[in-house]
């Protein structure tokens, strides 16, 4: 610690150059923190999904309905704990502006058995079961659309029309605390399956998807294969995947975001390595007489090497700390705006490790040069 002021003075020897160097490192680590935070949030969200929950949909398309006759067969498949039919009921809700609101029509009792997060309290499930056109929704949705228990929720469903052609006259019967881990139902309202199925003009007696819970998460893939095998070569072939796999597949459809982020961050750090290395080399070259004086008064070769490496470490860790700190400030915003649960700790730790690596790679060549410095030659200006 007693050498810290000496190291710090070396960092700020040329304030303009120091500021520009620090700014470039801060920028690089801010970019890394933001991008890696986003990827970490995406992966974290997938990891947080349940391995014991399967979703069965039509092999043809998610919009192709599945006959309810499949439900008893699914329930009797070995390894299945519970299964619930769902109808996708996303639609436009008229507030001051028209906004889409995501929803599902569910059978309250079977849904409660199949939902592993059990986000909907029993009282709300009961209220839903007792009110034919009722809906229950998480507090986050209620706050967004300014809804409360007793309010009407007229919905123009994207897929289904009522038999009289009007909007769906839904009514809020329950608002429950949102579960941020529940990415599937945590941002959706729930309506009554029977009501929606009977009131729609087409596809009656079908489900959009089946929500299935298995006994053993490690056997989820085998259970999924068994379910799909039952309906192979039938008019309604199914595709069953775990909730986690489904989310991972959806993300993959966008592209290999992890690779893209790694490529961008890699390119930025490659460029940064050269610029910081060049600055460190120049800074040490300018201070040749000063380093020679330090050696003259008793600093040995290793002390000089350590001082220069310490200077690189202080520069990189100080700037990286600011960059990563700024990135960390955005993590709650990412979580709140797109629901990604960013695991900040590993992102920041890896960032600091990268800062140490950057410091060592860029600081060691000039440090070795400083270590080899001949006092006599340096003092003579050779």
């Amino acid at each position: 610690m007693k050498f810290l002021h000496l190291v710090w003075a070396g960092v700020w020897r040329k304030p303009g150059r120091a500021l520009l160097t620090l700014a470039s490192i801060i920028n690089a680590f801010l970019l890394y923190g933001l991008l890696q935070g986003f990827v970490s949030g995406m992966n974290g969200t997938v990891d947080d999904l349940h391995a014991d929950v399967l979703i069965t949909e039509s092999r043809v398309s998610q919009l192709e309905p599945l006959p309810m006759a499949q439900l008893p067969l699914i329930r009797s498949t070995p390894g299945v704990k519970a299964a619930a039919p769902l109808i996708i009921l996303t639609g436009a809700y008229r507030t001051q502006a028209i906004a889409n609101i995501r929803g599902f029509a569910v059978d309250p009792a079977s849904f409660a058995a199949a939902d592993p997060d059990a986000a909907v309290p029993a009282g709300d499930i009961q209220a839903l079961a007792q009110t034919r056109n009722g809906v229950v929704l998480p507090a986050t949705i209620a706050a967004t659309f300014h809804l409360k228990v007793g309010d009407p929720l007229p919905l123009k469903a994207l897929l289904w029309t009522t038999k009289d052609g009007s909007t769906w006259p839904l009514q809020v019967v329950g608002v429950y605390p949102a579960n941020p881990r529940d990415t599937l139902f945590g941002t959706s309202f729930l309506a009554n399956f029977d009501y929606v199925d009977q009131a729609r003009t087409q596809s009656n007696g079908t489900a959009s998807i089946y929500l299935i819970r298995v006994n053993d998460p490690s056997a989820a893939n085998q259970v999924a294969s068994r379910i799909d095998a039952q309906f192979a070569n039938s008019p309604d072939e199914t595709k069953t995947e775990s909730e986690r796999q489904l989310a991972a597949d959806s993300i993959k459809q966008i592209g290999d975001i992890g690779f893209v982020v790694r490529a961008i961050v890699g390119a930025v750090f490659f460029a940064l390595l050269f610029s910081v290395g060049a600055v460190m080399m120049q800074s040490v070259r300018e201070r040749t007489p000063e380093l020679a004086v330090l050696k003259t008064i008793g600093f040995d070769d290793n002390a000089i090497l350590s001082l220069i490496v310490a200077e690189a470490l202080v520069t990189c860790l100080f700037a990286a700390g600011i960059g990563l700190g700024l990135a960390a400030l955005t993590f709650p915003i990412i979580r709140a705006s797109i629901g990604f649960n960013v695991h900040g700790g590993p992102v920041l730790l890896i960032g600091l490790a990268m800062a140490v690596a950057l410091a060592l790679i860029s600081g060691l060549p000039p440090a070795i040069r400083g270590r080899r410095l001949s006092i006599v030659d340096a003092l003579a200006g050779r």
Binding site: L6, E290, T296, D301, I375, L379, A380
Partner: protein, 231 residues
């Protein structure tokens, strides 16, 4: 009494490209404890090379250099650095202070290599600055000081660790005559009052007159005083 500095049969050769140049030829020299010796001679006579050997900054090609009871050739690079920190204080022509550090922090530098506490280091640095009359300038950086003041800071840095020997390479070469004489007076004071042994390289006969003994070098060997420098 054992001399503080003893050079016997010292030869120093340098490689300059393909050529090998012998700068010092079979040189013998002794400096007693408490002496103030001025090394004089024309450019290229080997004064600074001799000073570097005495200060442990360079090694002799041949011969023995014994300073403060230590045969310097026997020491490794690390040991030599420790030895310099303990026994030698250096004063250069161009002060060679750290431009980003205050006068006090510059003076404190050699003490960073000791086990003294921060408070003790600052106390010793303040005492050294007081000795050279710069207490009121301790917070100033070198760029905010005059040449004479910078050389005083350099002297304070050289004496702060209480070394046995002070090595001065043209300490007044960059100063006007009046300031130079102040600095030489200060060195004389350190020699007389503090008992510091001083070996100083200078071109200036007036500066050499502050020393107790003048040693002349010519073409890498000790020489008699030239007739025109008998000041």
């Amino acid at each position: 009494m054992e001399p503080l500095v003893s050079l016997k049969g010292v030869v120093k050769r340098y490689k300059r490209g393909r050529e090998t140049v012998e700068v010092l030829h079979n040189l013998d020299l002794e400096v007693q404890q408490g002496e103030f010796v001025a090394l004089m001679g024309p450019s290229g006579s080997g004064k600074t090379t001799l000073l570097n050997l005495i200060g442990g900054l360079d090694r002799a090609t041949q011969g023995d250099v014994v300073v403060a009871g230590e045969l310097l050739d026997d020491l490794t690079g690390g040991e030599l650095a420790k030895w310099r920190a303990r026994h030698v204080g250096f004063i250069f022509q161009f002060y060679n202070l750290m431009p980003t550090l205050s006068a006090e922090a510059n003076v404190e530098l050699p003490l960073l290599l000791t086990h003294l506490s921060g408070a003790q280091r600052r106390k010793n640095a303040a005492a050294a600055l007081a000795l050279v009359g710069l207490t009121d300038r301790s917070r100033h950086r070198p760029g905010e000081l005059s040449g004479g003041q910078q050389q005083r800071v350099a002297i304070a840095r050289a004496i702060v660790a209480d070394p046995t020997l002070l090595i001065c390479d043209e300490p007044t070469g960059d100063l006007d005559r009046e300031t130079g004489e102040e600095i030489l007076g200060l060195l004389q004071l350190l020699n007389r009052e503090q008992g510091k042994t001083i070996v100083m390289v200078t071109h200036d006969p007036k500066a050499a007159s502050f020393a107790g003994r003048v040693v002349h070098l010519d073409k890498g060997a000790l020489a008699d005083a030239p007739a025109d420098s008998a000041a």
